[in-house]
C-alpha cells in the first residue's frame, strides 16, 4: 500500500508533465509570439522540480509543522515587497526579481497558507456547539482566526491584482475548514456568507466599482456574454472555445492545430495551454489528461484517508483541494464554464513558480504516503 501510492504518484505526475511538455512544444512550435525558449525553460524547471519532489519526499513533513508560521511571515513580507517594488508583467505586479531568481510570491503563498492553516487546525480541536456562548467562541476561534490568516494573503494578492489566486486561497480555506471537522452548521453559514459577499462584490454597482478593476469587470460581464467585447476580453473566450471545439473527437494532430499555430490564442502557453491540448488531441487527449488528474487527486485523497495524524490529514487535503480546484477552474475557464481568471493548469502551464510549487506539493504527498503512524 505504502510503496504502491508512492509509485502511483510518481507515475501520474510524470505522465502529466510529459503531456504538458508535448503541448508546450506545440504551443511554441515555429511561432513568433511564443518563443522556443519557453519549452526549454520548462524542461529545465522540470528537472529541477523532479529533484525537488524527490528530495522533499525524503524529508519528514512534520518538520514543516514547526516552520509553518515562519514561512507564513516571510511570505507575507515577500507579498508586501512585490506590491511595492515588483516587476510589472501584463499590467499586474506579481514578480520579484532577485538576480537570476524571479518568482511570484503569490504562488508560494499557496504553500505557506496550507502549512499554516494545517498547523492552526491541528493545534485546536473544533468546538462543539453546546450553547450560545460556545457557539460564539467557536465562531471566533474556529472560523474568524483562519479567515483572518487567509484574508491577509487574499487582500495582498488581490491588490496585485490577481483576483483568481485570491479566490483560490478562499477555496482552500473552505476545504480545510471542512476537513478540520468544524460543525456542519458553520459550513452552511460560511457558504451562505461567502456567496452573498461574492454576489454583492460583483453585481452590486456601488461596491463592484471599488472591488473590481475595470478589466476584471469586463471579464466577468464578458463571461456572461462573450460577444459583449468580441475584440477584447471576449475574443479570448470565443477563440479558445473554437480551438477546443474544433479538435472534435480525435484532434487535429500534434503541431497542427490551426487556431494555435495561427496565433489566434493569446496566453496559450500559460493559462490557455488546455486549448492547445483540446485542439490538437481532441476529446480523447483531453479525457486522458483529465483521467490522469482525477487519478492523481484520488490517490492523494486516499493517502489523506489513511493518515491518522491531524496535521498530515489537513496538509494532504489542502494540497489535494488546491490541485483539484486549479484543474477544474482552469479547464472550466478555457471551455467557457468560468470567467477568465489567471489560474494555471497545474504541472502543465508554463510558469516557473507555479510549476515548482506543485512539484513541492507532490513531494509532500510522497512523504505523506510513507507515514503510516505518528510514532
Amino acid at each position: 500500500m505504502d510503496r504502491n501510492n508512492w509509485i502511483k504518484i510518481w507515475f501520474y505526475v510524470l505522465a502529466i508533465i510529459v503531456f504538458g511538455l508535448a503541448a508546450l512544444y506545440s504551443a511554441s512550435y515555429e511561432n513568433i509570439r511564443v518563443s522556443r525558449q519557453v519549452f526549454f525553460d520548462q524542461l529545465h524547471f522540470c528537472l529541477l522540480g523532479i529533484f525537488l519532489m524527490f528530495f522533499l519526499g525524503r524529508i519528514d513533513y512534520r518538520k514543516f509543522y514547526d516552520a509553518a508560521y515562519i514561512f507564513y511571515f516571510i511570505n507575507l513580507l515577500l507579498l508586501l515587497f512585490v506590491l511595492f517594488s515588483g516587476r510589472h508583467i501584463l499590467g499586474a505586479r506579481r514578480w520579484i526579481e532577485v538576480g537570476v531568481l524571479n518568482f511570484q510570491p503569490s504562488e508560494i503563498a499557496k504553500l505557506s497558507l496550507i502549512l499554516v492553516l494545517a498547523r492552526y487546525f491541528t493545534s485546536r480541536k473544533p468546538f462543539l456547539i453546546f450553547s450560545v456562548f460556545s457557539m460564539i467562541r467557536g465562531i471566533c476561534i474556529d472560523f474568524l482566526v483562519p479567515l483572518f490568516i487567509t484574508g491577509v494573503y487574499m487582500l495582498l494578492i488581490y491588490a496585485q491584482p490577481d483576483l483568481g489566486t485570491a479566490l483560490l486561497l478562499f477555496g482552500v480555506l473552505f476545504a480545510m475548514l471542512f476537513v478540520s471537522g468544524i460543525d456542519g452548521r458553520y459550513i452552511g453559514f460560511f457558504s451562505l456568507l461567502f456567496s452573498a459577499a461574492i454576489l454583492l462584490c460583483f453585481f452590486w454597482e456601488p461596491l463592484s466599482d471599488h472591488v473590481l478593476k475595470p478589466y476584471q469587470k469586463d471579464r466577468l460581464l464578458v463571461f456572461l456574454n462573450p460577444n459583449r467585447d468580441p475584440l477584447g476580453a471576449g475574443y479570448t473566450i470565443i477563440q479558445s472555445k473554437i480551438a477546443v471545439g474544433s479538435g472534435q473527437i480525435f484532434g487535429k494532430g500534434w503541431l497542427s492545430g490551426t487556431q494555435n499555430q495561427l496565433n489566434f490564442l493569446p496566453e496559450r502557453h500559460t493559462d490557455f495551454i488546455f486549448s492547445v491540448i483540446g485542439e490538437e488531441w481532441g476529446l480523447i487527449g483531453a479525457l486522458i489528461l483529465l483521467f490522469l488528474y482525477l487519478r492523481l487527486i484520488l490517490v492523494c485523497l486516499n493517502i489523506a484517508e489513511n493518515i491518522r495524524e491531524r496535521f498530515g490529514i489537513l496538509l494532504s487535503s489542502g494540497i489535494t483541494a488546491i490541485l483539484a480546484l486549479q484543474v477544474v477552474i482552469n479547464i472550466g475557464m478555457v471551455i467557457g464554464l468560468f470567467p477568465i481568471v489567471g489560474i494555471t493548469l497545474p504541472l502543465v502551464s508554463y510558469g516557473r513558480s507555479s510549476f515548482l510549487v506543485f512539484m513541492i506539493f507532490m513531494g509532500f504527498m510522497l512523504n505523506l504516503s510513507r507515514k503510516r503512524s505518528i510514532f
Partner: protein
Amino acid sequence: MRIKIIKYSVIFLFAVIVINLFYLQAIRGAYYYKLSAFNRIRVIPLQGWRGKIYDRNNTVLADNELSYNVLVIPQEIKNSLGLINFLSEALETDKKKLEDNYRRNKGRGDFVPVVIAESIKREQAIRIEEEKYLHPGLLVEESFRRFYPLGANSAHVLGYVGRTDRSRLAKFKDYGFSPQSITGYSGVEEYYDAYLKGEEGGLQVEINSAGEQVRLLGWKEPKKGQDIQLTIDAKLQSIIEESLFGINGSVVIMETDTGEVLGLTNNPSFDPNIFIDSKRSKEKVTLLNDVKSPLINRAISAAYPPGSAFKVPVALAGLERKKVSANTNFTCNGSLEKGGITFGCTHSHGPQNLLQAIAHSCNVYFYNLGIILGSDIIAHYAKMLGLGLHTHIDLPYEEPGNIPSRRETIFKQKKWYTGNTINMSIGQGDVLSTPVQLVKMMAIVANEGKIVQPHVIKSIGEIVDSRFKSFQRILINRSVFEAMNKSLRATVTEFSGTAHVAAIDNLFVAGKTGTAQTGSKSEPHAWFVGYARGTKRNITFCVFLEFGGSSQNACLLARQIMLKMRENGLL
C-alpha cells in the same frame, strides 16, 4: 468521513467538465471545426476618430476627413490577375504600383487583410463596392484621415501621423497597437498620442466560403479620441512664418507670466499633409532626404552656441556672488591676452561697467568676469536658469544642449584651460543651447526669478491642464535681477546698444543679442533673446537665425514680428 465527501465532489466537478467537453468537442465540434479550419471569423477593424487639435482661439489645426481604403485578403483571392486588372482600371493606377503596395504591406498569415490602395475617391469606392462580389477577397474600408487645414502652419508643434512603424509596434504592442493603427510622429501628435488616439473598435463576423457575411458575432464601437487645445496662436504663427520666409532659423514666442508658448516656428518647415496622402509619397521622400532636414524642430531639438546671449547668466553669477557690483569697471582695449592667446572684442570700448558691458556686448568685460568667477560657478548659474538641461516642454525629442565646466571636464580625464573659461564666458566653446532654453532663461530674468515652464498644451478634452500653473522661484536675489533688467533694457534703448534697431515706439522691449562664431568660413549664428511688455500681454521671445550673420538681422526680424503683432492686436 468528510474526505469522502470531497472525493465525490471532485468526481462530480470532473464529470461536469467532461460533459461540457463532450458537448463542445463531440456534439458542436463540427461547427467549431468549420469556424477554425476555414478561419471563418474575420475581424474588421474600425478606426476610432482621432481627437482634433485647436489653437488658443479655437482655430482648427488638425482635423479628420472621411476616406476609403481598398484591402484584399490573400487567402480568399481566386483570380489574382483579374482582381489586379479590375482594380487598376477602377482606380486608374498602374498595375505595378498596386502589386508593389501589396508586397510592401503584406503581413504574416494569409488571412490578414492587406491595404492595396489608400484614400481613394468616393465614386471609385462605390464602384468597387458594387462589383466586389465578382472578386472574392476584396474589401473597401471606410476610415478617417488626418487633415491639417493650415498646411505647414505650426507643423513642428503639431507633428504628423502615420501607420505604426516597427519599433513603435514592438514598444506599444501591449497597448493594442497594430501595424494598421495610426500613430503620431513628433510634436503634439506624438507627445499626446495616448489622448488623441481613439480607441479602435471593430466587427467580428462569421463569413461563408464566398466571403459573404453570414452573421455578426460581435461589435465593438470605436471611441473618439480627446480634442486638444494648444496655447499656440495660429495667426501669430503665420506672421512668424511670413517673416522667416527664405531665412533659416527659428522663432519662439512665449507668454512671460504663464509659460504658454504662443508661437514656435522653424524654417525650413514642411506640410504634415504630405505624410497622409499616399499620392504625395514622392514629396515625402524628398522631404526625408532633404539636407536641410526640415523635419527637425530646431527650436527644441537643435543646440547651438548661444554666443553673447550667454552673458546673461555670467553677469547674474557675478552679481549674485558679489564678485562685481553694478558699478565695477573693467577696461576694454579691444582684446585680452591670456596664456599667449589674444581674445578679441568687437572694438575698443574703454572702461565699462555692467550696464554698458551688456548693452555694448563687450567681450573683454566678460573675459575678466569669467576668469574671476571660474567655469564651475558659471555652469552652476547657467543650469539654474535652465541652460544645458531639458526645459521639459511638452514636445518630444528635446535636446538638453551642453554647459561645460572645469569640474566635469577633469572628471572625464580631459584638460581644462583658462582659455576654455574665457571662451565659455561669452557663450562660445562647448556651450550649446536651444532657442527654447534661452526663452525660458529670459522669462526667468523678466519675471525676476519666477520660473515658468514653457508648454504648448492648454486643455485636453474638457480638462484644463493645470500642471504648469504653479511656479517656483529661483534662489537669486531680486536686486540682482533688477540690475540685470536695467542693463537688458539699455541694450535696446541706448543709442550705442547692440539691439537698438529693435526699439519700438511706445513698447517696452529689452533683450540681449548674440553673434555666435561657427568657424572661420561660415557666417555666424544670429540671436536676439528678449522680452516685451505690451498692452495685451507680456511676451518673451527668441529669434534665432542659422548662419544668419550679424545679430542685427535677428533684431530687425524681432522688431518686424512685434510690429505685426501689435497691428493684429496680439501684443
